[in-house]
Structure formats: structure tokens, C-alpha cells
């Protein structure tokens, strides 16, 4: 028997298996973890919808269970996780959706009691960086954030537009941002985002510049374990990076380190930064989880998801110092063929 076979597999549960046109980070997170040679893993997928592609990617996800939607609340989630844990004995759980994180953070102590380790931001930091509070957050920590206004009624739009001028950005509570060039466009965007994500809506001043994203991992004590900046090379209609490249810019590293120090950020995170034409970095958004392009961190030499697993398990990790600049990712889509029986299984029994 090989030495490796004797080692107990670490059971890791991961959400966001929706590797679709606007992908969730789950599949990239799993791919990164599987690349790490320090441990053997069994991956448990946690899915909301029966058509999340990761459910059917059996070389990536070993077994998938459906879990209740975030709107069902923490009791339903905890009950379902208890059931799954009785079967799978989960060691580490990594949630990757913005909309579900609040629930997972709230039950993280309960999960710890049944042996499920997490490495999530504290609720205070999680809420402080929320789009709705971002402006206040920026002022508190002296981060450059574009001026914004949180509104609850469409009537507030024209007055805000007068102040900000056009173009301006209309943003949904959880996801989506629409650049608008007139009051009519802004009104339409308001209703569209309200219908999808609810209220409030955030109106943000438009900053012209280059879009940079930074993936980072904080240890929860103010130390940066890993920072990888990426310039979007190809952007989809939804504003998602379809290709990107790692870049070297001390200004970006500084702002990421400052963010981690100020918030004592625990876990993975993505800073969306707009580098203005006069080279001033504005934080546009703080996403409280790994981005969908996180596998690029592995290619650049800093495996953030695998390092998060080690941190969640209480292992000591040494902060990364170097990464490879000029590593490029190009995303692609692929039509998988699945049997109806598999679809029936996950839809009917809630597991596959």
C-alpha cells in the first residue's frame, strides 16, 4: 500500500457549483484544492439548483447534496448540514456565494461544535463591507471609494443623478451593476435590479479607468497570507472577466494589505478596483469570498483555497511573498451530456 493511501481523506464541502456563463467560484476552489499535494480530499458539493454543472462533474465533485435556499434561514440550513454531516463527516466547509454567507457566518460556531471547520469573516466585517455600507466603510478606514447613494425609491434617482452626472452605475443589493447614461436608463435599471435582488439599490458615481481585481487571503489577525492582483483582459456583457492576467503593482498590494490590516479579514476575499486614468485606485466593491478566477492564484504560485483549508484546520501557514506575473487565464464553456437518471436523482432525492 502506498503511503498516501493510508492518509485519511479530508472531507471538504463546497458551495457555488454553478460553473455557468457568470460562474460561481466553487469549481475553481475545488480544482485548486485538488491540485494541492499536501492532502487527499473528498469533495462534497452543496447545491441549490438541480442544474448546477458541478453536480455532474464527477471527477471534480465526489458527492452532491442539495441545501435550502438562503431565504429559508439558518435553522433549515443547520438541520440539513447536520444530516449531511452524519453521513459524510465534513472537516471543512467553504461557502462561496455572497447571498448565503451571512447564514453560514451565523451558524459557524454551531458547525464547529459538530466538527465542521470554517474560515469566514466575522459578521461585523462582513456587514461593514456590504455594498450598502461601503461608503461608510471607506471613510472609516480611509479607503478611496466612489461616492454613492443608497436609495429605496425610484423617485430618489433623478436628484442623485443630478448630483453625480452621467454615466452613473446602478447596482443591485447582492449582484449586478448597470452603467446608465440617462434618467430613463437608470429608472429601468432600478426596476430590473429591484425585481431581481430586492431593495435597496445603490447608485454609484462612475469612475473611468482600468478594472483590476485582487484575490486575497487574510488570517483573521490582520496579516495578509496571499495577495494576487489580476487585470481583466476580456470582459463579458455582465462585466465578468473571461480572460485575465496577473500583474505587478505595489499600489495594489499596498491597498490590499491595508484592507486586511484594517479589517483583520479572515478568509478569502476579492477587491474590485478601478484604477483611474491618474493611477488612483478606487475600491468599487469588496466581495467577501474567493472570486471565480481563483485558480489563477494557483497558477501564479499561491494556492489560496488550499491554504484556506489549512487555516481552517488550525494549521500554521507562512505568508506567500512571491507570485508569477504575466500568468493568463482564459475561460471556456463546455456542453456536458448527462443522463436523465442523474438529473432525476438530484431533483427527486436531493443528492447525487
Amino acid at each position: 500500500m502506498k503511503e498516501k493511501d493510508k492518509v485519511k481523506k479530508i472531507v471538504i464541502a463546497v458551495t457555488a457549483l454553478n460553473a455557468i456563463d457568470s460562474p460561481g467560484p466553487g469549481i475553481s476552489v475545488i480544482r485548486a484544492i485538488r491540485d494541492c499535494e499536501d492532502f487527499e480530499v473528498k469533495i462534497i458539493g452543496l447545491a441549490y439548483e438541480s442544474l448546477e454543472p458541478g453536480i455532474y462533474m464527477h471527477d471534480i465533485v465526489d458527492k452532491t447534496y442539495q441545501i435550502p435556499y438562503p431565504s429559508a434561514g439558518t435553522d433549515a440550513l443547520l438541520a440539513r448540514l447536520h444530516h449531511i454531516n452524519n453521513i459524510e463527516h465534513i472537516d471543512v466547509l467553504i461557502p462561496n456565494f455572497d447571498a448565503e454567507l451571512s447564514n453560514f457566518i451565523k451558524i459557524s460556531d454551531e458547525l464547529g461544535k459538530i466538527g465542521i471547520n470554517t474560515f469566514l469573516p466575522r459578521l461585523e466585517e462582513f456587514e461593514a463591507r456590504d455594498k450598502v455600507n461601503l461608503s461608510k466603510f471607506g471613510k472609516k478606514h480611509d479607503f478611496p471609494i466612489p461616492t454613492d447613494k443608497v436609495i429605496f425609491q425610484v423617485e430618489e434617482l433623478s436628484k442623485t443623478a443630478e448630483r453625480f452626472g452621467f454615466p452613473l452605475v446602478v447596482k443591485g443589493k447582492y449582484y449586478d451593476a448597470i452603467i446608465c447614461n440617462s434618467v430613463e436608463e437608470a429608472n429601468k435599471a432600478f426596476y430590473k435590479l429591484q425585481a431581481k435582488w430586492g431593495l435597496p439599490i445603490i447608485i454609484q458615481k462612475f469612475i473611468r479607468g482600468t478594472e483590476i481585481n485582487v484575490a486575497l487571503l487574510g488570517d483573521g489577525k490582520g496579516n495578509a497570507i496571499s495577495i494576487i492582483p489580476m487585470r481583466k483582459l476580456y470582459i463579458t456583457e455582465k462585466g465578468k472577466a473571461w480572460a485575465g492576467i496577473t500583474i505587478e503593482d505595489p499600489v495594489l498590494i499596498d491597498i490590499a494589505e491595508k484592507f486586511i490590516r484594517a479589517t483583520k479579514w479572515q478568509g478569502g476575499c476579492e477587491l474590485e478596483i478601478m484604477m483611474s486614468s491618474d493611477a488612483k485606485p478606487f475600491i468599487m466593491e469588496v466581495n467577501p469570498r474567493f472570486p471565480a478566477w481563483i485558480y489563477l492564484s494557483v497558477a501564479a504560485g499561491q494556492n489560496q483555497p488550499a491554504t484556506l483549508v489549512k487555516l481552517a484546520l488550525g494549521q500554521k501557514v507562512i505568508p506567500f511573498k512571491k507570485y508569477e506575473v504575466g500568468k493568463v487565464f482564459v475561460r471556456y464553456s463546455w456542453d456536458m451530456i448527462i443522463n436523465l437518471s442523474e438529473f432525476q436523482e438530484i431533483s427527486g432525492r436531493g443528492e447525487l
Binding site: 482600468t210 489580476m230 487585470r231 483582459l233 485575465g244 492576467i245 496577473t246 500583474i247 505587478e248 503593482d249 506575473v325 504575466g326
Partner: protein, 80 residues
Amino acid sequence: MKLKKNIATSEAGFIFNPGTGDSFSVNNMGSEILSILKENKSQDEVIESISSKYEVERSQLEKDLEDFFSQLYGYNLLEI
């Protein structure tokens, strides 16, 4: 006239700016000029080097180089 220190170039005429992620392609002549610039040569030395190798009116070469350098500068590839 100096290329920024961190700018990467290849013989095939590929230029990569690691600070911004921008990449560019130049033709053979552009590639040759860049390789001379990488040796920290002055603008006059670039002119001497190219005119000794190719048949070209000096005034035309100066004009074309001026144009090329202003593009490099515009793309943030030269030291200020």
C-alpha cells in the same frame, strides 16, 4: 530614451507591461529598435545604429522614430 525597467520584450516583437497587464506587438524594425533601447542607448545612437544598417533618409528615420517613441511614451512604456 529608456524603456521602463520592468517592461518585458521578446525577439518576436511582443511587449508586456507587468504593471498594467497591457501587451503589444511590433514589427521586425520595432523589435530591433527596442533591443537597441534595452542596451540603454540614446536616441542619437539608435539613429546611428539603424542608418548604418539600412538605406534610409536620415530626416525620414528621425521622423519615424519620433513617432514610434511618442507611441511608446503614450502607452506608458518609457521612463519619464
